[in-house]
């Protein structure tokens, strides 16, 4: 069929427009590899952005999704992950995980950022950032909170039954338990916190990558295994309640769940020192709902909301307004809620280990299968 001149020129114009569009896409793709979320739309209709959030089970108030939707308009779905490693595997598997906001511990946020998987945050969309304690704005894994915002923070220690044993003063209460505690102690199972008690007991850094030091850590942990009841990240406080265990390695907030059921359960930080961990919120680059994601982070950082979180999950939140409001009240029942940021900073901030990651994994396997 012969084409008329008109048709030909239309087609040519179309082709030119198409190539211009393609060039524009290519250019924006080139320029956007270091996406700084400056292309967020302030007038985006949040009710059209359905947010999917992955968090630990029980680490948020039950009506979180409902209240957020009420306040901001964006529908929210919350799914759970049991460990940092689990969500890391899903996020690094390639492709779109379907998750917009993930809750991961600080050192993992650092790793995600180095892998280029998370957004650099746009502070203009998170005005409530100013509510964070100054100490929480400069944590070692992400100074300035460029790609992560702390949601809860705290330290690790020993959670114990004060009516059954004396207050432990050293990590060796778990690693080399007394006769009363043999077979009645548990340790945390995830790598970093599995190593922590031995690292501190031996006087090493919780971020050490020195192989000789880690060999000693390994030996100490292997020696400790026969006296353990179990490696337990999730049910250790109920063992204290039931009396199966009388001293367990625990995160401070988690110990409060035990205290809630049995007032004799107390938390203590061993004399050798401990860590400073922070669980943070990050936004995935693959998210199609970045405005709603920023809105969510901002929503959490509102002092009233963050206080509501703290009251629900019984962990300290790095929000000055929130802690000023509810800290004192909670601290009456749960003393570790009264820890000040200054006290927290005595703990060693956990950071990503980089190339030494697999070393820790290998040692963890060797310890748990010994």
């Amino acid at each position: 069929m012969r084409r008329s001149n008109t048709q030909r020129s239309v087609r040519r114009t179309g082709a030119i427009l198409a190539s211009v569009a393609c060039a524009a896409l290519v250019l924006s793709a080139c320029g956007g590899s270091d996406s700084t979320a400056s292309d967020l739309n302030p007038d985006a209709d949040l009710t059209q952005q359905s947010l999917t959030v992955s968090n630990w089970a029980g680490y948020y108030p039950e009506d979180m999704a409902a209240k957020f939707e009420e306040a901001v308009g964006a529908p929210m779905t919350i799914t759970n992950h049991a460990t940092n490693e689990e969500i890391m595997a899903k996020l690094t598997a390639g492709g779109d995980s379907g998750i917009d906001v993930a809750f991961v511990s600080g050192q993992f946020a650092q790793a995600l950022n180095e892998a280029g998987l998370i957004e650099t945050l746009n502070p203009e969309f998170i005005p409530n950032l100013s509510n964070l304690y100054p100490e929480a704005q400069n944590l070692a894994y992400d100074p300035g909170n460029k790609f992560s915002v702390p949601y809860a923070w705290g330290t690790s220690g020993i959670c114990y039954r004060s009516d059954l044993i004396e207050e432990p003063t050293s990590w060796n209460a778990i690693l080399e338990p007394s006769a009363d505690s043999k077979g009645k102690v548990t340790a945390l199972a995830t790598e970093r916190w599995l190593m922590l008690p031995a690292q501190k007991a031996l006087g090493f850094s919780a971020n050490t990558t020195d192989e000789a030091e880690m060999e000693q850590v390994k030996a100490k942990l292997i020696a400790a295994k026969p006296n353990l009841l179990a490696y337990d990240d999730t049910t250790f406080y109920s063992r204290l309640v039931s009396g199966e265990a009388n001293a367990v390695v625990a995160w401070d907030g988690w110990c409060n769940y035990g205290t809630a059921e049995n007032a004799d359960i107390k938390f203590t930080i061993p004399s050798e020192g401990s860590d400073l961990w922070a669980d943070t919120m990050v936004i995935l680059k693959t998210s199609k709902n970045k405005e709603a994601a920023h809105a969510y982070i901002n929503y959490i950082l509102d002092p009233a909301n963050h206080a509501w979180v703290a009251e629900n999950i019984l962990y300290k939140v790095p929000n000055k307004g929130a802690m000023d409001a509810v800290g004192a009240g909670l601290a009456a029942t749960y003393p570790n809620m009264g820890m000040t940021p200054a006290e927290l900073l005595k703990g060693e901030s956990l950071v990503d280990l980089g190339e030494a990651g697999p070393l820790y994994t290998k040692i963890a396997t060797e310890v748990t299968s010994s």
Partner: protein, 302 residues
């Protein structure tokens, strides 16, 4: 439109066979090849390459994953797993064989019901069945409470978080899979052989050990494989019932793929499980051929 095809003769039969194979079997066979064979071959391939920094694959050929698999820590896990899976299998057979035999002796109309009742738990959620044992074996659970009520013990026994608990959980999960094949081979037994043994003066016990047991060996071996291999690859039960202290091959594999993200190493471990499976099946087939061969000659049945 319609190809004129003769409806009889060898050519027609061959053409029918070809159409039959293409229309019927091909879709399924292709699907299996895409979604089972290729993935497993992929696992084999991955075992020869390296892990990237954040997981993923770096395409540099290496045998270091295989070398690593032989390090003492992993050999320890392998041998642990073999011991636990082996114990599980033996226990399952000890429980399953008499049960299968008993069912075979039931009046015919009861047998189907009996078999269905045995198999029913297998078709339910295996997590739930494991969870039931967490409740039962707990130090506050029914077993400890009843033992204490009756006065046999004064303090709860720590059943949970031991290799024993893992074994109990595994036996519970896979017992139905033993009973079925064992039952099938007992049921196919030619009773006349046993009667003949009796007539020749053998006691019931001797008849059992010298006639019944050897003839049912193929079924027993299948049942054993159906328990042994899944037990090896199980990671849920060692985790939930073993308190994280019993690390089996399944846990290691799962960790490599979902936590440590070291896929090549996980691939090597998985190959170990597959190889074992293939070897065991080959063994079973060989033994079965020998035994059925003997059976053929004696009873004249095909």
């Amino acid at each position: 439109m319609s190809i004129p095809t003769p409806t009889s003769g060898r050519g027609a039969a061959r053409r029918r066979a070809l159409i039959g194979r293409t229309v019927f079997a091909a879709p399924g066979l292709i699907y299996i090849t895409i979604f089972m064979t290729i993935p497993i071959l992929l696992v084999l391939v991955y075992s020869f390459f390296q892990r990237g920094r954040f997981g993923g694959i770096v395409w540099e050929f290496t045998l270091e994953n295989y070398v690593r698999a032989f390090e003492p820590v992993y050999l320890q896990v392998f041998s642990n797993s073999l011991v636990i899976a082996g114990t599980t299998t033996v226990l399952a057979l000890l429980i399953g064989y008499p049960t299968a035999y008993a069912i075979a002796k039931l009046p015919t109309r009861w047998r189907t019901v009996a078999l269905v009742l045995v198999v029913l738990p297998f078709w339910t959620n295996f997590l739930i069945r494991t969870y039931a044992w967490i409740i039962l074996l707990n130090s506050e659970g029914p077993i400890n409470s009843s033992l204490m009520d009756v006065g046999i013990i004064s303090a709860p026994i720590g059943f949970l978080y031991t290799p024993g608990a893992v074994i109990v959980g595994l036996v519970y999960a896979y017992l139905p899979l033993v009973i079925l094949p064992v039952y099938a081979s007992i049921e196919r037994l030619d009773r006349q052989l046993i009667e003949a043994a009796g007539n020749l003066g053998a006691s019931r016990a001797r008849a059992f050990f010298d006639v019944t047991l050897p003839l049912t060996l193929p079924g027993v071996m299948i049942g054993a494989i159906f328990v042994f291999v899944p037990s090896l690859g199980n990671f849920v039960i060692p985790e939930l019932l073993g308190g994280g202290k019993t690390v089996m091959v399944g846990n290691l594999i799962r960790d490599q793929f979902l936590e440590a993200r070291d896929w090549p190493f996980g691939a090597v471990l998985a190959l170990f499980v597959i190889t074992l499976l293939v070897v065991l099946f080959a063994l079973q087939a060989a033994i079965s051929r020998r035994i059925n061969g003997t059976g053929k000659r004696v009873s004249g049945r095909a």
